[in-house]
């Protein structure tokens, strides 16, 4: 038998241009497999699933506008005398980094536009990451199998912070330079290695002549590379796991209900990219941002009132402002422990990391290890939602604390009083946010329960011959009801009997006991979904007493016959 090169299976030769191109491509890449697998892949439809896309597209805009900027920006601290616009900068000695930023803004056509789009995109990028992360948290999309994706997303949050910080420090202006001075002060406060880390970062004393080129490498090469790699992983997981979906008729953990990638999502998501780019262009065209010529080229002497970093760093700024100074002390050996700097710098980051580990905590307290692809409505997880709001409250309060001088100026208040107010609020606020959110969730769940049991109020009042008035209720249709009953109200972990020889003193039993206690904190307050039996009970007469925890609800009708005739569909 002679060997022969593999040929196409017998099919007619393609004649159209598209056909011939596809044939050429597939012969060399086997792309047919991918097209078969992905072209009509189904994605569920909800607006809150587009938040991550805002982040993705903002990042693409950052790459595009950033490339433009790198064509003109000079990452060097060499000094020269600047001649040009604006008049307030003419004739000043400044670094090439600052001078090239000015030239880019005032002499390159479209330069200022690109700079402003770039900076607005960075702010929106971080804002959309936070919003997307909170959506994922509140809907429980971090549960198995998506724990890795959650951690990848969290890492993207941190690298995004770094990207922003290195980016806005590049123009070498007074405001960002003071930010670098503060960062240097925080680094120096680290015990044992702090001074050396400061020398490492700046190549010597602050500011030295190396920091801008170093930040440039970080900002355009290393950090974007990390972000791109993580984003690729992040999206790959979304494809492998398929996207989650909100509860509704026909939606189960075992399926995905939605629309195909091509053409619907190609158009919607592709169109959304253009919308994001358009909105960012609109902002860059009309709203001034980071006007570095107003701050001036970096000089360690000047500083401006209202010296804050970009909004996503405000939580660190606020925590530095709130901490009282007494916490610094000198230990034996004459070593200085600057806890007044270390605690505010480290504590919020530790809390963030704790938040990132939440999925593992929740898996442990629910004992729930199966795959989840149907999302939770936040109200059905009161403790989790409360914890999320408490975290948000913590960081929002810190952000406000970081703006205390602007609050003082705008509302004619004493900055010292504001600082004290936030010092108290940072402890009271998150706890209060947790408590009130949990109560609201439980209240909403009860409302849902009422709705399922008794239906919508129709506003029709019926008067019986006996003189009694009732309002007629319309029962929920199947779809409405399904959304409100299709959830699991987890019960606290049950403590098994101790099995070891030591009985209740056994270490693993004690550990299990602690987890059970935590689980009770999570789940002992709960509203379980309505069952058909309960619904039937609510329709029969006089049996409301049988339902425990019976509050008063308006009866549908005291008389079963009215019930059947008066309900409209």
């Amino acid at each position: 038998m002679t060997t022969s090169t593999p040929t196409r299976p017998s099919a007619t030769e393609p004649t159209t241009p598209i056909g011939r191109t596809s044939d050429y491509l597939d012969n060399r890449t086997g792309i047919g497999h991918a097209v078969k697998e992905f072209a009509r892949k189904v994605f569920p439809d909800h607006w809150s699933f587009l938040l991550g896309e805002i982040a993705l597209y903002s990042f693409v805009v950052l790459l595009i506008t950033g490339t433009f900027l790198t064509m003109f920006f000079v990452p060097s601290m060499t000094l020269s005398t600047y001649e040009g616009e604006p008049a307030t900068m003419h004739g000043l000695l400044m670094s090439d980094a600052f001078a090239s930023t000015l030239r880019l803004s005032f002499e390159v056509r479209g330069g200022l536009l690109m700079r402003q789009i770039h900076h607005w995109a960075a702010l929106v990028f971080m804002a959309s990451i936070v919003t997307h992360m909170m959506r994922v948290f509140f809907t429980g999309a971090f549960r198995r199998p998506r724990e890795f994706n959650w951690l990848i997303g969290f890492t993207l949050l941190l690298t995004g912070l770094l990207a922003g910080f290195t980016g806005y420090s590049l123009p070498d202006d007074v405001l960002s330079g003071n930010g670098l001075a503060i960062a240097n002060g925080v680094v120096k406060s680290i015990p044992v290695i702090g001074s050396y880390m400061s020398y490492f970062i700046f190549g010597g004393d602050f500011p030295g002549e190396q920091i801008i080129p170093r930040l440039f490498t970080l900002h355009i090469l290393l950090i974007p590379a990390i972000i791109l790699a993580l984003v690729a992983l992040h999206l790959m997981f979304v494809v492998v796991h398929k996207h989650t979906q909100y509860p509704g008729g026909g939606r189960k953990d075992g399926n995905v209900v939605g629309f195909p990638l091509f053409p619907v999502y190609t158009a919607k998501a592709g169109g959304f990219f253009f919308v994001v780019f358009a909105v960012l262009s609109l902002m860059g065209a009309t709203m001034a941002i980071n006007t570095v010529w107003n701050y001036g080229p970096f000089d360690p002497s000047p500083v401006s009132a209202g010296a804050q970093p970009d909004w996503y760093m405000l939580f660190l700024e606020g925590s530095l402002r709130l901490m009282p100074g007494q916490a610094e002390f000198v230990s034996w050996g004459d070593f200085t422990w600057s806890l007044n700097v270390l605690v505010p710098a480290v504590l919020p980051v530790l809390l963030l990391i704790g938040f990132a580990l939440y999925p593992f905590l929740e898996a442990k307290v629910t004992g729930d290890n199966r795959e989840h692809h149907v999302l939770d409505r936040p109200r059905n997880r009161p403790t989790r939602t409360g914890i999320g709001m408490a975290f948000l409250a913590f960081f929002v309060i810190l952000a406000f604390a970081g703006s205390n001088d602007l609050i003082a100026t705008h509302f004619h208040l004493s900055i010292n009083s504001i600082t004290w107010f936030f010092r108290v609020l940072i402890f009271v606020g998150p706890w209060f946010a947790f408590w009130i959110t949990k109560r609201i969730c439980l209240g909403l769940q009860r409302k849902d329960r009422e709705l399922v049991l008794h239906g919508h109020e129709t506003g029709r009042i019926v008067r019986f011959a006996s003189g009694e008035y009732i309002e007629v209720h319309r029962p929920l249709d199947e779809q409405e009801r399904w959304v409100r009953v299709n959830y699991t109200a987890h019960r606290p972990l049950e403590l098994p009997a101790p099995t070891g020889p030591k009985g209740t003193k056994d270490k693993s039993y004690k550990k299990a006991k602690r987890w059970a206690k935590l689980s009770r904190f999570f789940y002992e307050d709960r509203i379980e979904p309505v069952t058909p039996a309960e619904l039937a009970a609510s329709h029969s007469h006089g049996e409301h007493d049988a339902l425990p925890g019976g509050e008063d609800h308006a009866l549908v009708a005291p008389d079963h016959s009215v019930d059947a005739t008066e309900q409209s569909h």
Binding site: F106, M283, M287, A288, P302, A305, D405, A408
Partner: protein
Amino acid sequence: MKALAARRHHRFAPVVLLLLALLVTGGVYAVLAPSQARADSASTQDIETGKKLFQANCATCHGLDAQGTDNAPSLIGVGAAAVDFQVSTGRMPMAMDGPQAQAKPRQMTDEQTSQLAAYIASLGAGPAIPTDEQVDGSKGNPANGAQIFRTNCAMCHNAVGQGGALSQGKFAPSLERTTPRNIYQAMLTGPQSMPVFNDANITPDEKRDVIAFLEAQRHGSAGGASLGSLGPVSEGIWAWVVGLGLLIGAAVWIGAKSS
């Protein structure tokens, strides 16, 4: 016409007429009232009038001979410039107790202000009111002014003079609408919490450069709407409100079912 005649006897006719009369009177006054002339040099007459004004409006706090009391400092040696600044911005006479005297609608006319200034200047040598040439921003160098402002002023007044917070409810006000003369005088006399920037620290030419710098800030921002020039905090608020607001709105639209 019939409609108008019918309303002649309306209940509110007198009110409308009154409002019209007030409007007309005010308008006529604004057009015809003489503008106040500014005295160029102080005559003995001015000093006498100034003394009377002082005793009527200021002596309660500052003492009959301006020597100061527990409530207010001595004004001997503060100079005409200090008086012109404080009175023309309405800060003095101080009406209300608070962390600091606030700028408010002025109580004294230009003529009365200069008379008060003449009186105080006669009590002891102090900084004089600058000439028009000294405060003419077009003769100043805004780049040098920017550098001086950044080193000496931006920490309280913000990089472009939008104002900033001091401790305990005090604040450095926005300079957006401050007149060139008052910018000069404030630097020279150091009102309230503001330090004194005498002519050795910031020379008269440098003061004029600062005026040139501040005037250059009044032409709007090169990047579009200035958003108050308050820095990254306001930029962050706008990014959330406008940026994320528009984009979430677009997302809701995309996810909504078409009719």
